[in-house]
C-alpha cells in the first residue's frame, strides 16, 4: 500500500510518497503560484509512473488544502499535527521542533507537557517575510543567504511582525549599511520572533529539529538559530526531509485512512476538485464594461505636464531629488517648470549609486547650454544624498509634495501619496496644510506589499495589475494590516479564487486600508473635493480605479504621479533664486566614490548603531544617530526639556544601606510616576532601595523569553527585562504592586489605571522564574492614605516584616509629602520652561504621553529630536490642571489619560505651542483618547500630531513628521 501526503501551503505545494515499507519514493517542493487546484491535479498526473497499478492512501494538509479535502472527501490533517506525527515516526528523540513555513511559524514542545503553538494572527517573521526582505534588498534568496554568512555586526530589527521589521530595515538600507549585516540581522529577527512570539516563556532546549523550507535552504538562518540557542551539532538537527515534513506527516497520517484509491480514481477526484469553484462573496468588478474602461483611460491621460527637450533647451534649470525608501526619483525642470529630465529608479538598496549615475547622465547631455541653478533633496535619504552630492537645500517631504500638487491644481484640498513604503496625506485649508496623516509603522506595507506579493505568486507587478483590471469578482480581503491580508488571501486561495480576482481584491484592500485605517476617513465628503493622488503606487491602474470606486469620485492622477516629490523639490529650489548651485561638479562627479562602515557609537548608553559614509573628498556623513554627539557638534540646544528633566530627577534618587536589607523596584510603567513615593517610603522604613536601572535593548532581550502576550504594548514587555535584572542582581525582595486605582487629580470622572498598568505584576508572577526571590505584588491604592497604611502594615507583616503602624504612618506621610513635592516641582519646571520659551521666542511642543514615556528606550529620543529642532519640550503633567474640568465626549476615567485631555485644553490657550500625542503601539485606551484629544485641539484651530511608538527604532519617519509639523506652524503664522 502506498501512502501519498500533500501539503498545500500558502505559497508552495509539497508532496511525499511512501512505499509499502514507509520508504520515501518521491518528494517535491514547488511554488504553486496560487493555482492550487490545477497544480495538485498535475502533481497527481506527474506521479503516474509511481502510482499506476498501486493502491494508494492519501491525506491532505496545509492551510490552502482544506477546501480540496472537503470536495474530494479526503482525510485532512492539521499541519502542526501532521508534523508531530511524522516526528514521532521518524525523529522520535527530538525535544523541540521549530518549523517555519511560507506564512506560518510553529513550535512543538514534545518532552514534558506537550505543547504546540502557531504564530498568532499578527506575526509575520516567516518565509514570506524573508522573501519580502530579500526583495527589499534586491537580492534573491541565495544571494541573501550567502551574504548573511559574512556579517560583521547585527542590527536590532523589530522581531514582532514583518511590517515592523521592514520599517527598521529601510533606514538601514537608506543609510548605506552593509547588506551582509542587514541580511544576517533579518535572520536574527526571525530567530528572536520565534523565541518571543512562539516560545512565549518556555525554554527551547534539548535536541531541536528544524523543519520547513526556509530552515532547510537558508544556511544563514540556520546559523543564527544555532548561535542564539547555543546548540551543538548533536542538538541542532536539520534533516534532509525538512521542506517536505508536513507532507511526510500527511502520508503517515494517511495510513490510518480506510479509503483506498487507484491512480485512475485519484485523477477523477482531482479533476473534479480542479473544476469546482466555490462561490466567493466577491466585490463588484472594477469596470462595468469596456466603455467604462476606455473613459477611465482617456480621463487620466489628460493630466500631463509639458516637456522640454534637454538637447536643445538653453537657459537655467533646477533639479529636485526625492530619495525615497525603495526608489530614487530625479527631475530637472526649466524656467517654465517644464520637464527637461526625469527618472524613476529602484534604488536597489543603494541610492547613492543611482543619483551618481543620473547626475552623470545629466551632465553629459546639458553641455554648456544649461546652467543648474539649484538642487533640492527630499525624502528618507535626504541627508545622505544632500551631503554626498552637495545639494543646495533639503525640503521636508510633505512640503515638497504639497508644492507639486498645488502647482498642479491650485485648489487642491486633499493630497494622498502612496509610495513603496509609506503613505501620507494632507488636507489643505486656505492654502496651508491643515492636517496631515502619515501611516504608522503598522500599516506601512503599501505599494511594495503588492509588488512583493505579486512576485511571490510568480507574477511581475505590471502583469499582476493588468490582470486585476479584468477581474470579474474581486475577493474581499478586509482592510487590516498586510499580514492579515496574507491570511485572507490564503482563504481566497482555499476557495479557488483566480489571480485576477486576488489582484483586484488586494488593490481594494490597500485602498480601504489607506482610507479607513490610516486616514481614518469617516465619509467620502470627509476626504475633500479636489483630490490629487500621487506616489508610484497610483501608477497601478487597478489601485487608482479601486480608489475612485471606494470614494465614488473621480480624482486627478498626474502622469508624473511617482515623481511628485522630486518635482516639488525642484519647484521649491527654483523659488530660492540662488546665484550658484553648490551641486557637485561634473569633474568631481567623475571621481566620486564612497565607502560605508558600521560602528556602534560609544557616546552614551544608547549605543546607537551608526553608519558612516565616507566620500572620496574626505567628507563624511553619519546616520543612525539619535543625538548630535557623534557628529562632533557640541550639544546644540539648551532649551528646557521636561522629558529629560523628569527622567534625570528619577535616575538621581540615591539609596542608602538600611537596617532592613534591600528591596528591589523595577523602573517600569507606573513606577515612573510613583517612585517619588515608594523610594522615600522604603528608604525611611530602613530599606536599601535597588532600582532596576536604565532600560536598554540588552535588558529587554534578557527578559523577552517570558513575555506571554506578543501584542501587549512595548512598555509592558519591557517590564520582563527590568525584573530579570533584579533577579540577576539577586535582590532578595522585589516590590511591584498591583494598582487598580490612581490618585484623584480632580480632572476626571474616575481614577483608574489602564488594565495593563494595573495588573502587570500578575503576569510577572505567573510567567517569570522567581524562586529565589520574594516577589511582592500587593493590591494597593495610594488615594486613601489611612487605608494604605493599614494594608501595607498587614501585608508586610505577612512576609515577616513586622513594622508598627505608627512607623508606617510616619514614613508614609513623609513619602506622600515627597510625592507631592515632586509633582509640584515638575509643574514649576514646566512654568519655567514656558517662561523661557516666551523670553527667547521659541516654539513649544507639549509631548503628551504617559509617565513611562520618559524612558528613552520607549520614546526613542523624540524629545531630543525636538530640542534639536529648537523646540522647548513640555510634558503632559508639567502644565497646570484646569479645574473644574470640562467634560469630554467619552468616559474620562483613567488618571493618566485625563492629563492628556487637560494638556490639550491647555495647549489650545497658548500661542506658539502645539501638542504631539505619543501613543504606544497596542495601547487600546488610546484608540479612545486620540480621537478625543484631536477633537479638542481642532476645535481650537490647533494641529493634531500623533506619533505611534513601539520597539521599532525608526526616528527617520518621526523626523519627517516633526519637521512637517514645524513647516505647518511656520506657514500658519
Amino acid at each position: 500500500m502506498y501512502k501519498l501526503g500533500l501539503d498545500v501551503g500558502s505559497t508552495t505545494l509539497k508532496s511525499v510518497l511512501l512505499s509499502d515499507h514507509d520508504e520515501i519514493l518521491y518528494q517535491s517542493y514547488e511554488r504553486h503560484r496560487s493555482l492550487v487546484r490545477e497544480m495538485s491535479l498535475s502533481k497527481i498526473k506527474e506521479l503516474e509512473p509511481y502510482l499506476k497499478g498501486h493502491e494508494v492512501q492519501l491525506a491532505i494538509s496545509g492551510s490552502a488544502g482544506l477546501g480540496m479535502a472537503e470536495i474530494g472527501a479526503f482525510p485532512f490533517v492539521q499541519e502542526v499535527f501532521a508534523t508531530a506525527g511524522a516526528v514521532r515516526r521518524y525523529d522520535p528523540d527530538s525535544d523541540v521542533v521549530i518549523e517555519l513555513g511560507g506564512e506560518d511559524a510553529k513550535i512543538l514542545f514534545l518532552k514534558g507537557s506537550l505543547e504546540e503553538r502557531m504564530n498568532s494572527t499578527c506575526a509575520g517573521g516567516t518565509g514570506a517575510f524573508i522573501d519580502q526582505m530579500a526583495a527589499l534588498l534586491n537580492l534573491d534568496l541565495n544571494e541573501m543567504d550567502a551574504l548573511s554568512l559574512k556579517y560583521t555586526q547585527l542590527y536590532p530589527i523589530a522581531s514582532r511582525c514583518g511590517v515592523f521589521a521592514k520599517s527598521d530595515i529601510q533606514p538601514l538600507v537608506n543609510q548605506g549599511a552593509d547588506k551582509a549585516n542587514i541580511a544576517a540581522s533579518i535572520f536574527q529577527a526571525v530567530v528572536d520572533q520565534t523565541i518571543i512570539g512562539l516560545a512565549q516563556g518556555r525554554r527551547i532546549e534539548g535536541k531541536i529539529l528544524f523543519l520547513g523550507g526556509p530552515l532547510s535552504f537558508l544556511k544563514g538562518l540556520q546559523q543564527r538559530f544555532v548561535e542564539t540557542l547555543k546548540l551543538d551539532a548533536e542538538h541542532a538537527v536539520f534533516p534532509s526531509t525538512a521542506p517536505y515534513y508536513v507532507a511526510l506527516g500527511a502520508a503517515v497520517y494517511a495510513k490510518d485512512s480506510t479509503d483506498i484509491y487507484t491512480y485512475e480514481q485519484l485523477i477523477e477526484k482531482f479533476e473534479k476538485i480542479a473544476s469546482t469553484r466555490i462561490k466567493n462573496h466577491g466585490l463588484k468588478p472594477l469596470f462595468k464594461d469596456n466603455g467604462e474602461y476606455s473613459e477611465f483611460k482617456h480621463r487620466h491621460q489628460q493630466s500631463d505636464i509639458p516637456t522640454q527637450d534637454i538637447h536643445t533647451y538653453q537657459g537655467d534649470a533646477y533639479i529636485g531629488i526625492d530619495a525615497g525608501s525603495t526608489t530614487t526619483k530625479l527631475i530637472m525642470i526649466d524656467e517654465k517648470d517644464r520637464l527637461l529630465y526625469s527618472s524613476y529608479t529602484n534604488n536597489l538598496g543603494n541610492p547613492i549609486d543611482v543619483v551618481k549615475a543620473e547626475l552623470t547622465d545629466i551632465y553629459k547631455q546639458i553641455d554648456n547650454r544649461i546652467q543648474i541653478r539649484g538642487c533640492a533633496v527630499t525624502g528618507y535619504g535626504e541627508d545622505l544624498i544632500k551631503s554626498a552630492f552637495h545639494g543646495d537645500c533639503g525640503v521636508v517631504e510633505t512640503v515638497a509634495h504639497y508644492t507639486a500638487a498645488r502647482h498642479f491644481n491650485p485648489d487642491v484640498d486633499f493630497i494622498i501619496d502612496i509610495g513603496g513604503q509609506d503613505m501620507k496625506c494632507f488636507r489643505i485649508k486656505d492654502h496651508t496644510i491643515d492636517d496631515m496623516v502619515l501611516n504608522e509603522a503598522c500599516s506601512s506595507g503599501c505599494g511594495s506589499f503588492i509588488e512583493t506579493f505579486a512576485r511571490s505568486l510568480g507574477y511581475d507587478i505590471e502583469e499582476f495589475a493588468r490582470l486585476g483590471l479584468t477581474s470579474k469578482e474581486p475577493v474581499d480581503l478586509g482592510s487590516r494590516c498586510t499580514v492579515f491580508m496574507n491570511s485572507s488571501v490564503k482563504e481566497a486561495q482555499k476557495n479557488g479564487a483566480s489571480v485576477a480576482d486576488i489582484s483586484a481584491g488586494l488593490a481594494m484592500s490597500i485602498v480601504k486600508n489607506a482610507l479607513y485605517k490610516v486616514i481614518r476617513a469617516r465619509s467620502v465628503d470627509d476626504i475633500g473635493k479636489q483630490i490629487v493622488v500621487q506616489g508610484g503606487t497610483f501608477l497601478n491602474d487597478t489601485i487608482l480605479r479601486s480608489f475612485e470606486i471606494e470614494l465614488g469620485r473621480n480624482v486627478i492622477r498626474p502622469s508624473i504621479a511617482g515623481l511628485m516629490g522630486a518635482y516639488g523639490a525642484a519647484l521649491y529650489v527654483k523659488t530660492k533664486q540662488l546665484k550658484h548651485s553648490t551641486l557637485i561638479s561634473e569633474e568631481e562627479l567623475a571621481v566620486f566614490s564612497h565607502t560605508s562602515r558600521a560602528i556602534s557609537c560609544g557616546g552614551c548608553t544608547n549605543h546607537c548603531n551608526l553608519t558612516i559614509n565616507t566620500f572620496q573628498d574626505g567628507s563624511r556623513h553619519i546616520a543612525g544617530n539619535k543625538c548630535e554627539k557623534p557628529l562632533g557638534i557640541k550639544q546644540t540646544s539648551e532649551n528646557p526639556d521636561l522629558y529629560a528633566y523628569k527622567y534625570q530627577k528619577l535616575m538621581n534618587y540615591k539609596s542608602k544601606p538600611g537596617k532592613r536589607g534591600k528591596i528591589g523596584i523595577p523602573m517600569v510603567l507606573n513606577m515612573y510616576e510613583n517612585l517619588p513615593f515608594w523610594h522615600p517610603f522604603f528608604t525611611e522604613l530602613g530599606f536599601e532601595v535597588i532600582l532596576s536601572g536604565r532600560s536598554s535593548k540588552q535588558m529587554y532581550a534578557q527578559g523577552s523569553q517570558s513575555i506571554s502576550s506578543d501584542t501587549v504594548c512595548f512598555p509592558a514587555k519591557l517590564v520582563h527585562g527590568h525584573i530579570q535584572q533584579l533577579i540577576d542582581e539577586q535582590v532578595p525582595i522585589i516590590f511591584y504592586p498591583c494598582m487598580t486605582y490612581n490618585f484623584d487629580e480632580g480632572i476626571s470622572d474616575n481614577q483608574f489605571n489602564c488594565p495593563v498598568v494595573a495588573y502587570y505584576p500578575e503576569v510577572i508572577a505567573a510567567n517569570m522564574e522567581l524562586d529565589e526571590q520574594l516577589f511582592l505584588y500587593p493590591y494597593l491604592s495610594l488615594h486613601q492614605p489611612n487605608r494604605f497604611y493599614d494594608k501595607m502594615q498587614a501585608f508586610l507583616k505577612r512576609f515577616g516584616c513586622d513594622i508598627s503602624i505608627k512607623e508606617i504612618r510616619r514614613c508614609g506621610e513623609l513619602a506622600f509629602r515627597a510625592y507631592h513635592a515632586y509633582k509640584n516641582d515638575v509643574l514649576k519646571a514646566g512654568q519655567e520652561a514656558i517662561q523661557f520659551a516666551h523670553d527667547h521666542h521659541k516654539k513649544m511642543i507639549l509631548l503628551a504621553g504617559r509617565p513611562y514615556h520618559i524612558d528613552p528606550l520607549i520614546n526613542h529620543g523624540i524629545h531630543k529630536l525636538l530640542t534639536g529642532l529648537d523646540f522647548v519640550v513640555l510634558s503632559e503633567d508639567s502644565v497646570p490642571f484646569i479645574t473644574p474640568y470640562e467634560k469630554v465626549n467619552v468616559l474620562n476615567q483613567w488618571t493618566y489619560h485625563a492629563r492628556m485631555y487637560n494638556a490639550a485644553r491647555y495647549v489650545c490657550k497658548q500661542p506658539n505651542m502645539e501638542l504631539i500625542q505619543l501613543v504606544s503601539f497596542g495601547c487600546g485606551i488610546d484608540a479612545i483618547t486620540s480621537d478625543e484629544v484631536k477633537d479638542i485641539l481642532r476645535e481650537h484651530g490647533k494641529l493634531y500630531t500623533q506619533i505611534k511608538i513601539d520597539e521599532v527604532d525608526n526616528l527617520g519617519a518621526i523626523r519627517i513628521r516633526v519637521r512637517s509639523l514645524l513647516a505647518a506652524m511656520e506657514e500658519r503664522k
Partner: protein, 432 residues
Amino acid sequence: MERVEFTKAMRKTHTILIPDMLPIHFKMIERVLRDEGYQVELLQTTGSKIAQEGLNHVHNDTCYPALLVIGQMIDALKSGKYDLDHVALAITQTGGGCRASNYLYLLRKALVQAGFENIPVISLNFSKMEKNSGFKLTLRLLIKLIYALIYGDMLMWIANQCLPYEAAKGTTMGVVDHWVAKLNTQFHSLRFLYISRNYKQMLTEFSMIKRSCVNKIKVGIVGEIYMKYAPLGNNNLVDFLLKENAEPVVSGVIDFGLYCLKNNQVDFSLYGIKKHVQPIAKLAISFITHCQSRMIKAIQKEGTFRAPGTFDSLLDAGEGFINKGAKMGEGWLLTSEMVELIHSGVQNIVCCQPFGCLPNHIVAKGMMRKIKNVYPTANIVAVDYDPGASIINQENRLKLMLANARLNERMAHGGTAEYADKKAHVYAYEPH
C-alpha cells in the same frame, strides 16, 4: 455633545433596538422588557456589512465587540426598516477600568458621525452611571431580568449537552424554543418564580431527547464576554465545534453578574470604597447563588446531565493563580473559569478574545503558562477575533486544538501517540 434623553413619552412612541449577545437569553429579555411597556426589538442581523459599518464609524483600534455592536446598530438604522424619528438604542455599560465602559460614548460619537445624532441611547447599567427619565430599572423588572438570565443559563447549559448527541437534528433546539416560549408566557404572571418546578420539567423534557451515547471531546469556551457568547463575534464557534464532533461547554452568564457583584465586596475590603453598596451586593449574591444551587441540585437529582460548578467553587478555582483584585474586563473570572473547566474534566479550552484586548493580556494569555504548569494536560488555545482576522486562520488553530484533544484522549485510554500500530516509544506523558 448634548445627550438626547430617552423620555417618558418615548416609551410609547419609540422602538428600542438592543444588540443580541446570547441568543436564548436575549429572547426572554426582549419579552420581559416588552411586558414592562418598552417596545424592544432584538437585533439579530449578520453579514459583513456590520463589521464594515463598525470600521467606518469607530476608531479601528477599538475592540472588536464595540465595532460589531455599534456597526450592527448603524447598519440597522441605515436599513430603512425603522422610523428614525421613533427609534432608540440600548447598550450595556459595565463601568470598570476596561475600555468597554466607553462603548456607550463611542456609540454616541458614531451616531453623530453617521447623522443620527437625534436618536436617544439608553445606558443599561447597574452602577447608576447615567439615567433616562423614560427608562427605569424597577425592582420588578430587575428580578424578571435576573430570572431570564438564570433560565437562559440553564437552557444553554443543558442544550449544549444534548446538541452533539441528538439522534434527530433539531429536537434539542425544539425543546429550547418550546421553553423560551413557555417562560415568556410565565413572565406575564408570577409563575416564573416556581423555579424548581420549571427546572424539573425542563430536565425531564431534555432527558427524553433521543441521544447517541458516543463519547465526544468536550471543549470549554471562555473569553471576553461578547466574544464568548455572541455567534456574530466568535464566528459561530458553537456550531463549528458541533460540526467538528465536539461538545461545547459554555458556562452561564450569571457568573459574570456575580463576578461584578463580588468585585464590589473586594473593592471594599481592599480599598474601603463602595461601602454603601455592600448590603445590596451581599443580598444579590446570596439570592443569585441560591437560584444557582437549586439548578445544580435539580440537575444532580435528575441525573442525566453534568451540573455546572457553584460560584464558590469558581472562587476557589482562581486561588493561587490570580488575585480577586484583578477586576477589569473579565478579570479573575476568566482565569478562574479556565481552571474550573479543567477541574471538571474539560481539558480543552478555547479562549476567545478581541484582538488587542487589554485585560486579556493579563487574565487570559498572561495566565496560560501558569495554568499549563499546574495542569500539564490542559489544552488551551487563544483565538483572536477582529475584522481582519480570517476565519481560516481561526479554524486552523481550533483544529490543532481538537487534534491534540483527540490525541490526549486516545493516550489517556492507553493508546499511543502514533497514528498507526507502532508501539509507544520514548514519549513522556503523564496521565492526569
